[in-house]
Amino acid sequence: MYKQKQLGRGMYQLFCVAVGLILMAPIFYAVSISFMRPEEILTTDLNLLPNSLYLGNYQIAIEQTMIFRFIFNSFVVAFVASFVRIILASLAAFSLAFFEYKGKKMFFYLVVGSMIIPSDLLLVQNFFTVARMDLVNTYLGIMIVFFFNAMSVFIMRQRFLTYSKFLREAALVDGCGNFRFYAQILVPSNIPVFATVFIVSFVGVWNTFLWPLMVTNVNEMRTAQMAITMLNIAEGSASYGPGTVMAAAVIILIPSIAVFVLFQKRIVGGLMTGSVKG
């Protein structure tokens, strides 16, 4: 009986892992292609695994492009922008969830309403704003449009609304100021939701390539996504074949997957403890 149950559980886990691996097949495909010689890739026969670990694609990607500088730029932009974003969003959500004041409803609708404004399309106008602020070719110029995000405010407000009102009242009666309540009680006890928003934000900023493309025009300020699209444009030329593009793609994937896996552990464990409300 017991053994059978355990076997069933093992099969279940095996099934889940298999589903996950099938889901991630495109990534394994890219890794596999990145180690193939050009003649292995260019064939019409199905070739899922490289014959040998060929490193030439990586050599071209690393030696002929500034790929590590691009990754560094992407990291700085995504990290700082996400950090500023969770601070701005949590302060706004704190205000919207815990206070009663004139115009609160209107501000909330301004936040929610902005979610349906196509942000990509505002880029041209925003470029002129950023250019007027003299922020072209700066990290701040790339980051500044990502500081505010309506969804982050929305998620945090939803979470704060379910937060125990009694705890706040008790804190205020004890002479704890509003800001101290925010910084010392609310933020530490909502780390899981902060982690969620941070990951979503980091990935989102890391993913964008059109805005950085517009506000930068020097090579050393470019981000990883732009580098990839440039390799893509050069795909037809002799130097960058599909193997090199896949090698560059894998190099770019490593840091983002690493960051994600690192935070994933925190988020899954954290969300469970965080959701147990007092």
Partner: protein, 310 residues
């Protein structure tokens, strides 16, 4: 008299004036940094766009003359724009529900903590860590008619991205793949946050289990579902990255022959690759109106089913 209870526990009138003023402005101070960014980079450019759409502007975006609704009538009678609107709706209707259902199904699979659950939780969520530019290029190779894995694997000979009948479908498949991780992570968090006893009763037999799913679990996670639906629609209505990366060639967006043109790529083609700001501004406003209608519809449809415990 309106006495705001900014500080609970103490009567407001007993506090010194300075404290009272501070308590009045305090909530606005917390809102100010976020709000100023919101206005500067969302509402200001948006309103500028709407105003400009009623004027004729030159290619340096300088206002030349009042145009009334002329820009709009030009856009709304433009066949390529109407095709873009149609494609956008197909794109939204295909990508949003399917990726939420898959994300939810994976969350149900993973909801019970097991020894290897960390492994498959990570695999299920991982697609959100992969940039659209990178995954677009992986699929571009996989879709390649001769050396791509998809045709080789299934023995097909389809020109996925250059055949008008499969091009949009090809982009939809990539978008769904890309959305799964995000949807999974939110549904998974929502499921794990449910009370223990709800999850415990999932040991029951099939019939009861499906009733549990539809009558207890789905209503409980409906705020998360609504959030994913709304953010999914908002994103899909305005997304153009895949079109711009994969089906834009020689300065023409939404190839082949407009088969993958969506509202946003249409606007890009006019405003950034070309300098036809008149059409672009009007198309932008139309896009905004359409997406707000769809969002409102989603809200109304879900109002009845969603349980808010706020």
């Amino acid at each position: 008299m309106k006495l705001r209870k900014a500080s609970l526990g103490k009567p407001v009138s007993a506090l010194p004036l300075k404290t009272k003023i501070f308590q009045r402005v305090e909530p606005y101070l917390y809102l100010l940094p976020a709000l100023s960014m919101l206005i500067l980079f969302t509402y200001y450019p948006f309103i500028t766009n709407v105003i400009h759409s009623f004027f004729t502007v030159d290619r340096f975006r300088r206002v030349r003359a009042f145009a009334g609704l002329r820009n709009y009538s030009r856009v709304l009678t433009d066949d390529s724009f109407l095709q873009a609107v149609g494609n956008t709706f197909i794109y939204v209707l295909a990508t949003v529900p399917i990726s939420i259902v898959i994300g939810f199904a994976l969350a149900l699979l993973a909801k019970k903590k097991t020894r290897f659950s960390v492994v498959y939780e990570t695999l299920f969520a991982l697609s959100m860590a992969i940039s659209i530019a990178v995954i677009a290029m992986i699929f571009q190779l996989a879709y390649n008619p001769s050396m791509g894995a998809i045709n080789q694997l299934f023995g097909l000979s389809i020109s996925w991205l250059s055949d008008p009948s499969t091009a949009l479908l090809s982009l939809i498949i990539i978008q769904i793949w890309s959305n799964i991780g995000y949807n999974f992570l939110f549904m998974f968090s929502a499921l794990r946050a449910l009370p223990e006893d709800v999850m415990e009763s999932s040991r029951m037999d099939g019939a009861v289990r499906s009733r549990l799913l539809f009558q207890i679990i789905i209503p409980l996670v409906s705020p998360t579902l609504l959030f994913l639906l709304m953010s999914g629609i908002a994103h899909a209505m305005t997304s153009a990255s895949l079109v711009l990366i994969l089906t834009t060639t020689h300065g023409a967006t939404g190839q082949p022959g407009g088969a993958t043109e969506v509202i946003m790529s249409f606007i890009y083609g006019r405003a950034i690759m070309g300098t036809n700001f008149n059409v672009a501004y009007a198309a932008t406003t139309v896009g905004f109106v359409l997406s707000s209608i769809v969002m409102a519809l989603a809200l109304v449809l879900d109002r009845k089913k969603v349980s808010y415990d706020v």
